[in-house]
């Protein structure tokens, strides 16, 4: 792969855009769950605030710092799950993690599919899944399955 191809495979325009202008950035004063996660390999941090009402994610915000992949992934994820039921949101997080190991997603992942290139960069999978792990933890109250963490 040439320079451009290799970068384009990883950093789709959507990703650069979400990285430059993250959606749902901030905190929720009335969050029902807040989770902080750190990626020890690279020092990336995320804080995720979720507001769940009647088993539905009515609002979600994130703050933190990390690479373009992890920040764009967090931004896209918040957009994807806002308004979804807890069940649906958890399904999406798991589906996305499978997707990054090269499996076919069961549901439409929307913009998150722009992260497909990550599956070819094992060292970056952890970046892309950080926000999703935080989401799982916030919604299920338990740490996510470490296998999906690979």
């Amino acid at each position: 792969m040439s320079t451009d191809d290799s970068l384009e495979a990883l950093y789709r325009e959507t990703i650069l855009d979400h990285n430059r202008s993250p959606r749902n950035r901030g905190q929720l004063p009335d969050a029902t769950a807040t989770v902080g996660l750190l990626n020890p390999t690279c020092g990336d941090q995320i804080r995720l605030d979720v507001k769940v009402v009647d088993q539905r994610v009515v609002d979600i915000r994130f703050t933190g710092h990390g690479c373009a992949i992890s920040m764009a992934s967090a931004s896209m994820m918040t957009e994807a799950v806002k308004g979804k039921t807890v069940e649906e949101a958890l399904g999406l997080a798991r589906d996305f993690k499978r997707f990054l190991t090269g499996e076919r997603p069961q549901h439409d992942l929307g913009e998150l599919e722009a992260l497909s290139g990550v599956s070819r960069y094992p060292s970056r999978v952890k970046c892309a899944t950080l926000a999703h792990n935080a989401l799982e933890q916030a919604l299920s109250g338990s740490p996510p399955n470490p296998a999906g963490d690979a």
Partner: protein
């Protein structure tokens, strides 16, 4: 083998590789160095002609293997100016060597109230073993503070090293800041209060002339893989008296004198610390690496690496939006840096797309990241096979990365 610095690059097969359509520029030697053909050939020759377990049999192959293994010990001893080959203990690497000192020497000698002194720039391998042995023995871990430029503050050292100090552990060259630490001066302070001086030589031994007598160290740990040798082999050097008062760590074959069902006595140093079948081929390869570096000349390599490190620091510092860490000079052949608004992982990824291999992360120095107040950094590190054109490629990659992320 060419044995001159100017043309040595061609001794390293991997450096002929292309990455994403560009000739590879390998700037990650502080993580692990590349291997010259002479090392790979020595390992292959060992396996194809003399492979046998050492010290164990009387047949021809075993005699040859033992001679090669012990010959490598002699080469390493000469390389670092050790008084006797027996002071050279083969380990897996720096990490194992430092852990051996913590478990074998410090655990035995530290008492509650004693103090162990280290610095905030240490690699986790030269920090966590001391945290743990302090926890276990009731000793206290103290830190020499750094000056704002990332050098050791000698006044702080003089304050922290005192009558309670039993052990001082310091790296000779920082793998992030590039700082060349004043080991001899610190060792003098340590010895003045009767403390033992442990030196993490992971970054210094590959890049600087090392004479253990002048260094003032009591223990020196380093890794073969960072000095053109194979992975899985390293060295713990210690003064014979210190090694003799150290407990063995790995119990098993070849480290014993007599064994009954209920008790055992130990073999003499260094066998006492080399329980189990050692990495024989690794030692042979390390011996070949020492020969290779010696033929090129460690003085020349030291000057070369410093020059590249200092040049890279200046050139990176002059690029708008680039922050460099540590002192401008003197410094070892590596530079940690950050690009404003771009995460180091993304920097390294774009560099890779341009064929430039650097490292991004906390470099196993989380407390130093906390001191620098950054999450992580990018790092370019140099070795004998790099030259100024690699720094041109490095700076071009910085510009390309800034353009790519629109900064």
């Amino acid at each position: 083998m060419t044995a001159t610095l100017a043309s040595c690059k061609r001794d390293f097969p991997i450096l002929g590789r292309e990455v994403h359509g560009h000739p590879l520029v390998y700037l990650d030697s502080a993580a692990t160095a590349q291997k010259p053909r002479a090392v790979l050939e020595a390992v292959r020759r060992y396996y194809e002609q003399s492979n046998a377990n050492v010290h164990r049999s009387v047949h021809t192959l075993a005699d040859e293997a033992t001679a090669l293994y012990e010959g490598a010990r002699q080469k390493v001893a000469a390389f670092i100016g050790a008084e006797r080959p027996e002071e050279v203990v083969f380990t897996r690497g720096t990490t194992e060597g430092l852990n051996f000192v913590a478990r074998g020497w410090a655990a035995r000698h530290l008492k509650p109230g004693d103090e162990v002194v280290t610095s905030p720039m240490e690699h986790h391998s030269n920090l966590i073993p001391w945290q743990q042995v302090c926890r276990q023995t009731g000793a206290r871990l103290r830190f020499i503070e750094l000056s704002p430029d990332g050098t050791i503050d000698l006044q702080s050292a003089a304050r922290v090293i005192g009558p309670k100090t039993r052990l001082v552990a310091l790296s000779a060259l920082s793998n992030v800041l590039g700082t060349i630490n004043p080991i001899a001066a610190i060792a003098e302070m340590a010895h003045a209060v009767g403390a033992v001086m442990v030196v993490d030589g992971a970054q210094s031994v590959p890049h600087q002339v090392t004479r253990v007598q002048e260094l003032g160290a009591d223990f020196l740990a380093f890794s073969g893989h960072k000095m053109c040798g194979p992975t899985g082999i390293g060295v713990l050097w210690g003064r014979m008296e210190r090694l003799e008062e150290m407990d063995p760590i790995l119990y098993g074959g070849e480290m014993i004198a007599y064994v009954s069902r209920d008790a055992a006595t130990w073999a003499a140093v260094p066998a006492k610390f080399e329980g189990g079948t050692p990495n024989i081929a690794g030692a042979v390869g390390l011996g070949a690496a020492v020969d290779y570096l010696t033929a090129i000349g460690m003085e020349a390599i030291e000057a070369h690496d410093r020059r590249l490190g200092e040049l890279a620091y200046r050139r990176l510092a002059s690029v708008p939006g680039v922050t460099v860490y540590g002192p401008p000079a003197p410094r070892g052949g590596l530079v940690a840096f950050n690009l404003a608004g771009i995460h180091p992982h993304d920097v390294a990824q774009v560099f890779d797309a341009h064929g430039v291999a650097i490292r991004a992360g906390h470099h196993c120095c989380q407390p130093l990241m906390q001191w620098l107040d950054v999450g992580s950094t990018a790092r370019a590190s140099f070795y004998l096979y790099n030259d100024e054109s690699d720094i041109d490629r490095l700076v071009e990659a910085v510009e390309a990365t800034k353009r790519y992320f629109g900064q």
